[in-house]
């Protein structure tokens, strides 16, 4: 025997703020409301992230082929990673690099020799086109690249395309410290 089902009309619990007309200015009514605005700001901010623990140095080792005295053609160093770089707004990334310069050699090198090694430094992972700087070029239009939105990611810094300053026919002077500097800059642009 089917039990008799008596359906009770239970008023639905309506979850809305009491829709009583707000009190007019100076008049009280059975309900009263106050509005509050909560505000805050986040400045445009960039952080180049945390370098990996390989240290901030590309150690290229011995630069020359010791049998010929010319620059090695197989100079290689693993990329370095800046993890967790971010900009809270649209941004530009730029790379600036200086040629590897023989630190203990002063003055102009003798004929047939060079005291500097050029290379290309690049920062990739931030923009579609990596920012890159060729220390041997007169202009580096590609050294600054832009992103049009807030972004976070890893920046990979690499070095490549080593060449003897002045030409491949020159030999690098002997020096146990050739030094170049690479600067990667993230700038927020609002």
């Amino acid at each position: 025997m089917k039990p008799n089902l008596i359906s009770l009309l239970i008023p639905a619990a309506v979850a809305f703020a009491p829709g009583v007309a707000l009190a007019q200015d100076g008049e009280a009514s059975s309900s009263d409301s106050e509005n509050f605005q909560v505000i805050g700001t986040v400045p445009a901010l960039c952080s180049v992230g945390i370098p990996d623990n390989s240290g901030g140095v590309f150690d290229m080792g011995v630069l020359v082929d010791t049998t010929t005295g010319f620059l090695r053609t197989d100079l290689f160093a693993p990329d370095k990673t800046l993890s967790g770089a971010f900009c809270s707004s649209r941004s530009t990334i730029s790379v600036e690099a200086s040629a590897m310069q023989a630190q203990n050699f002063a003055g102009a090198p003798p004929s047939g020799f060079s005291s500097a090694v050029n290379y290309v430094a690049s920062a990739s992972g931030w923009t579609t086109t990596p920012a890159s700087f060729n220390t041997g070029a007169t202009t580096n239009p590609g050294a600054t690249q832009g992103r049009d939105s807030a972004f976070t990611g890893d920046i990979t810094v690499g070095v490549s395309n080593f060449s003897t300053a002045g030409g491949a026919t020159l030999r690098p002077v002997a020096d146990d410290q050739y030094l170049g500097e690479i600067t990667v800059t993230l700038s927020a642009s609002e």
Binding site: A23, G26, E27, A28, D32
Partner: protein, 188 residues
């Protein structure tokens, strides 16, 4: 108590009839005395009136909003009508507080549900008053013989705690009693 107002006549019993009939030259006179009484009495010819004070609390949203608006009470009045026919009539007034009839529990701290006031009634230019805060009627006053309006006026309104008035319907009362002199012309 029935009061019989009658004319009692002296009955001349047959005493006269028993006297010998004499021939007289002057007419014979007899007297009938008529007496009556009017007892002291008071009566309200217009015994009931209503004062509607409307909204009792102060409007707006400032610091006094919701408290007693004394201006609504003080000066409110209505006029009864009545008379007393004796010189020793008295009048008493009894004021009952204006109380919230919708909310009868003890109000929370900061709230009141009672409005006290002073009522005054005037008969024959004599004022009788009473405070609603004090139980019982006020002191009787001698109004004497009069017939006419008896205005009743409220004043001195206040709340016990000076707090916010609880919402609801409020009701109070002013009773005016006219009492004739009771030492004359009363039935046994």
């Amino acid at each position: 108590m029935k009061r019989i107002i009658g004319i009692s006549a002296l009955a001349l019993a047959g005493a006269l009839a028993s006297q010998p009939v004499l021939a007289q030259s002057a007419p014979a006179e007899g007297e009938v005395t008529i007496i009556g009484t009017v007892a002291d009495r008071c009566l309200f010819t217009l015994p009931s009136k209503l004062i509607d004070l409307g909204e009792l609390s102060l409007p707006g949203t400032d610091g006094n909003a919701g408290k007693l608006d004394t201006g609504q009470v003080n000066g409110a009045s209505e006029t009864l009508e009545g008379w007393c026919n004796g010189t020793a009539a008295t009048m008493t007034v009894e004021a009952f507080p204006i109380e919230n009839t919708s909310f009868t529990a003890t109000p929370p701290s900061g709230f009141d549900r009672v409005v006290n006031f002073t009522a005054s009634a005037t008969a024959n230019s004599v004022d009788g008053t009473d405070d609603s805060e004090s139980a019982g009627a006020g002191t009787p006053v001698a109004v004497g013989m009069f017939a006419g309006p008896i205005p009743v006026v409220l004043s001195g309104a206040s709340t016990p705690g000076g707090g916010l008035l609880v919402a609801g319907d409020y009701q109070g009362l002013v009773k005016v009693t006219l009492t004739p002199n009771t030492s004359f012309g009363q039935p046994d």
